[in-house]
Every structure is written in C-alpha cells, then in structure tokens.
Symmetry: C2
Subunit: 134 residues, 2 copies
DNA sequence: CCTAATGTTTACTAAACTGGTGTACTTTTA
DNA sequence: TAAAAGTACACCAGTTTAGTAAACATTAGG
C-alpha cells in the first residue's frame, strides 16, 4: 500500500518546475540537486512524465525540462499514473480483470474495494500543483 | 499502490467466517478450499489475524478458527492493519518519520498525501464485515 | 496415555520488484 | 565540430512476494 520512490521523486520534480516561471527550461542536474534526488535516477523517471504529457524536454546545450501545461492542470493522480500506471489497490481491480477469487460469485469485498479505490482516485485528482506551490 | 495477496486472502477468510453461525469453529482446510486459497499459505496468514484480535483459533482435533467478535465490529482496515501493518501511502508518512526530502522545509506534496491517506483510512474503516455478508 | 488431527513456528526458495548505476547514443547549440 | 544536455538499454544488489517444507505443540477420543 505504497507509492514508490520514483513517484515521490516525480512529485518533487514537478513541484520544483511548477515553482519556476512558465516555460523556463531547467536542467535535470539542477532539479536533482535542489530536490535531493539521485541525478541518474531522475533522468530515468523524467521520460515517464513526458509520455504522460506533464513535462516537455529540450535536448542539447541549455536543455532541460519544463511543464507541458499550467500547474493547476496537473494533479497528483496525473503524476502517479504517469510513473506507476493506473491506480489499483487490489489485483482484482486491475485492467486485466485478474481475480484470485475467479468463479466465485458475489465478491463483496472486491465491490467494497472498488468503491474505496474510486474515492482514492478522486482524492488524488483533487490536489493540483497550482495549489501545492502556494 | 497495492494491497498484497495475503491481505486479499485474509479478507476472504474473514468474510467466510462471518457467514458462519457465531462461534462455529471452521478448519483451515475448509476455508482454503471454499475460498480458493493455498492451504499452507492461509495457515501462515491466520496468526496475523489472531494477533490483530480478529479471529481466535482452537488447536487439536476438531480445531480451527472462528471470529473473535461480531462481524459488524470488524472493518477492512482492521484486516489490512493486521496483515500489513499501518497503512502508509508514502514512506515519509510512516511511523519512523523517514522522509527522502529531509531537511527541505514546506513539503507540500507530503502534506497533501497525509490528507489523502487519512481519507483512505477512513474509507477502509467505514466498511465492516457485517455489511459485506448481506 | 497413545494417536491422529489440527494449528504454530521457523526456515527456505524462486521470481519479481525496487532503487539504483553504467555505457553508449542522439540531439542541439556555440 | 566539440561539448553539453537528454535518451535508451542493459545490468545489478538487495528486498519483497507468494509460497512450500519440516518439525513442533496442542487437543480430542479411544
């Protein structure tokens, strides 16, 4: 029941970029140094945020990263999903429909978990980086 | 961001016991067979539920497990905590106070996560096995 | 009091995951 | 064209996960 370290680092990388003037390009080394993240590891995490449409990158001299959109339009859920994929608190709630209780009808526990998961997702969605940098 | 398999099995073991008449002793093999759980693995999980005050056991011939209290007084949170320990969605929110951003003030993300975690715990607490067996 | 049926405890294990690091490569600017 | 950035892929040690195995402790019944 834990977000992993990569997601935690991603939160802080996005938070750091959100604190910069819009469109300012910040190199990985600066983000890593300021947020106390191993640079190489951050460099491996960033492409996930790019694929998730959260940040954009610029290569070459003077390159780095910048937010792809307004901090207010980036939620905690966006970052979590970009790094870890869809939020599922139980395997049976994953996309592939895996259920260890397959064939057993009336899986009440899993119905309850689905309800809880939905609320968790809504909570993650309710926090955006525009509010967090205040 | 996942409950583990042991917790999932524990949910179903408790649910199965909750469906039995109060105080009826059910052996591990029956629970395992009915709920499609590897018997040996279930046998390893049950002591956690006992330590958590959720079930009680009786050894020897005719032995097995039975609920330690009314199903209405057992929540999903009780089972999760018995099997996995305290719920923490981020390492920095664990008891030991670990924070990868130690020394950095105003950790806004973690404040938001603490808020979300609290709501998740409340949700888990709001579902009890008395309701689930209906 | 002996035996078989039950749960308990501890140790072990293969596979996957976590949190990185290393190396080579591509892109871009000066 | 060289240096400074990000990208991609492979590798790795340690931990966790999901079990299994074996020896042990307790209890009911004969």
């Amino acid at each position: 029941m834990n977000l992993n370290q990569a997601t935690d680092y991603a939160f802080r990388a996005v938070l750091y970029l959100a604190g910069k003037p819009k469109g300012e390009v910040v190199e990985a080394h600066e983000i890593a140094r300021q947020q106390v993240i191993p640079t190489r590891f951050l460099l491996k995490i960033m492409p996930s945020l790019i694929k998730g449409g959260i940040v954009k990158s610029q290569r070459g001299i003077g390159g780095g990263y910048y937010l792809a959109k307004d901090p207010r339009d980036i939620t905690l859920l966006d970052v979590v999903e970009a790094v870890e994929g869809p939020v599922t608190i139980n395997r049976c709630l994953a996309d592939d429909g895996y259920c260890s209780r397959q064939g057993i009808p009336n899986c009440q526990v899993h119905n309850a978990l689905a309800d809880i998961q939905e609320k968790l997702v809504e909570e993650l969605k309710s926090h955006n980086f525009g509010d967090l940098i205040k």
